[in-house]
Structure formats: structure tokens, C-alpha cells
């Protein structure tokens, strides 16, 4: 991130992208009936920012889109859960990204699984019933698969975004 103008622009556009994807996702009903199961489409924007080497920006966009989409399409209760899941997910992605051993899809797989498992554990803690961890295998597998696909999408679109980004002088 060389100039402030560029940074503000890219973060604004990423937040917009994440918000649109949040909206798309809110149109899809829950299949597992357990809070925590999501496609994780908005994570595309977060993975993109990580790949561009801006972890701070990725975290900011992540939190902003949760608060904004929560007020627009969800509830306050949903916001708290989403933030918890997003922080667990972000921590995992940051670790995988820092390790430099994983590509875009691997980073995103980590995010997807950590998100679903994190939310399920928080849900189990809130209702004080560890029995709902019954769904952990299904949720982790689903998170890995959706994360894999989203990681491929992020990695594939990165060169195009970068070429425009590097050309523009702000």
C-alpha cells in the first residue's frame, strides 16, 4: 500500500464487495439449522486483501461489513455471533498466510473451517449444551469445501485487480 488515496479506495471497494456478498448470502436460507453454517461469500474480500498484503485492512473490512450488514439485513444478536466467528476465522487465516506455506485456497479453507467451528463452540457455550457439537464434523467439512472454492475465486481474480491497482497513480 503506497499511498493513502489508494489505500482508502481499495478498502472502500472491498467493503462494498463484502457488503454485496453479505446481502447475497442473507438471501440463502440456513441448511443446517445451527448458527454458524454459512457459505462465507464475504470472506472473498477479506482473502483478497490478505493476498495483497494488507492484514490490517482485511480485519477492518471484515469488522465493518459485519456491523453494516448486521444492521441492514440481520439483528444485533447476529452481529455478536458473526464478529466472534469472524475473529476466529481471521486469526486462522492470518496464521496460514504468515506461514507462507499455503496458497489462496489453503488460507481460505482455514478461514471457513475456523469460522464454522468457532461459531458452533460459541453457540454451545451460550446455551451451555456441548451436545450441539454433534454437528461439528458436518460444519467443518462444509467450511472446508466452501472455503476452498472461495479461495480459488479470490486467487484467480487477484491478478486482474492487482494489474489495475498497480497502474493507477493516486
Amino acid at each position: 500500500m503506497r499511498s493513502k488515496g489508494k489505500k482508502v479506495t481499495i478498502l472502500g471497494m472491498s467493503t462494498a464487495l463484502a457488503l454485496i456478498l453479505s446481502y447475497l448470502e442473507s438471501l440463502i436460507p440456513y441448511y443446517f439449522g445451527v448458527p454458524g453454517m454459512k457459505l462465507g461469500l464475504p470472506n472473498l474480500a477479506v482473502v483478497l486483501l490478505l493476498l495483497m498484503g494488507d492484514p490490517v485492512g482485511a480485519l477492518i473490512v471484515n469488522l465493518l461489513r459485519i456491523v453494516l450488514s448486521g444492521f441492514l439485513f440481520g439483528s444485533l444478536y447476529g452481529i455478536l455471533f458473526s464478529i466472534a466467528g469472524a475473529l476466529v476465522s481471521f486469526g486462522m487465516m492470518l496464521l496460514l498466510w504468515r506461514s507462507r506455506r499455503f496458497g489462496a485456497s489453503g488460507i481460505s479453507i482455514g478461514g471457513g473451517t475456523a469460522h464454522n467451528l468457532g461459531q458452533l463452540m460459541i453457540a454451545a457455550w451460550v446455551v451451555r449444551t456441548p451436545g450441539i457439537l454433534y454437528y461439528a464434523p458436518a460444519l467443518i467439512a462444509a467450511g472446508a469445501l466452501t472455503g476452498f472454492v472461495i479461495g480459488i475465486a479470490a486467487g484467480a481474480s487477484l491478478p486482474a485487480i492487482r494489474s489495475v491497482y498497480d497502474k493507477e497513480k493516486l
Binding site: G33, V127, I140
Partner: protein
């Protein structure tokens, strides 16, 4: 400009490992505990058990949540579902029917859990 790597060998390894572990856990549980049982419905609110109902007897009851909300639970034809709830998201209603050991309906806003538990030994090893 360095070309970003989308799929590396480690990524595929990670995906395979995660899927394999999940599959093994699911299969192991299927073998260990019978999928269908002469189950009991265990209802807990805010972590406290408030009732046990056999899946074999049709019934209907209302669970009051600590925050004043309520969920209407129905047991019919060996399955259990939430018919009505005044929670903001309604995920408990969308969950549909449960009838297999270990399955549960969760209403987070009301801190309500409805769990299918097989006989006296409890739902599964994770639950203990």
C-alpha cells in the same frame, strides 16, 4: 509482478486431511451409536434441564425462555420440531424435524436446546 499461487500442494493436503477427519468422525459415530433409537427428547433452557419426553408419545408443549420469549415444541410420529417461536431469527423453526440420536434444535436467542438422546446413556460421547 509475482503471480499469486491459487492452489498449492499444501492446500490440497489440508482440504483432504480436514475432509477425511470429518468423515471418519461422522462414520465412527454412526457405527458407535445407533442412528435411530427409541430416543428421548431432552429439553434444556439456559443450560438447565427442564424436561424429558419420549419420542414415541405425541405431545405439544410451550417452553418459556428466561427473556420472556417462548417456543412451541411438537412431538409427533417419532419426530420433534419447533412449531412456533417468537425469537428474531426463527432458525429453530427452519431446522425442521429431528429424530436421530444426537440431533438437536437450537434457539440461540432463547438459549433453548432440544436434543434427541438415546435412552439413559445420553446423546453421544461428545455430549458427556
Amino acid at each position: 509482478m509475482k503471480k499469486p499461487v491459487v492452489i498449492r500442494k499444501n492446500d490440497v493436503l489440508l482440504l483432504t486431511a480436514v475432509l477425511f477427519i470429518c468423515l471418519a468422525a461422522a462414520l465412527g459415530r454412526l457405527i458407535a451409536g445407533g442412528a435411530n433409537g427409541n430416543g428421548m427428547i431432552l429439553v434444556t433452557s439456559d443450560g438447565r434441564e427442564i424436561g424429558r419426553y419420549p419420542l414415541s408419545a405425541d405431545t405439544e408443549f410451550v417452553v418459556e425462555a428466561p427473556d420472556g420469549g417462548s417456543n412451541t415444541v411438537v412431538i409427533r410420529d417419532g419426530g420433534c420440531y419447533v412449531r412456533e417461536a417468537d425469537c428474531p431469527d426463527g432458525i429453530c423453526m427452519r431446522r425442521g424435524r429431528i429424530d436421530k440420536n444426537g440431533e438437536s434444535i437450537v434457539c440461540l436467542p432463547h438459549r433453548l436446546v432440544i436434543l434427541v438422546s438415546g435412552g439413559e446413556s445420553g446423546a453421544d460421547t461428545i455430549a458427556e
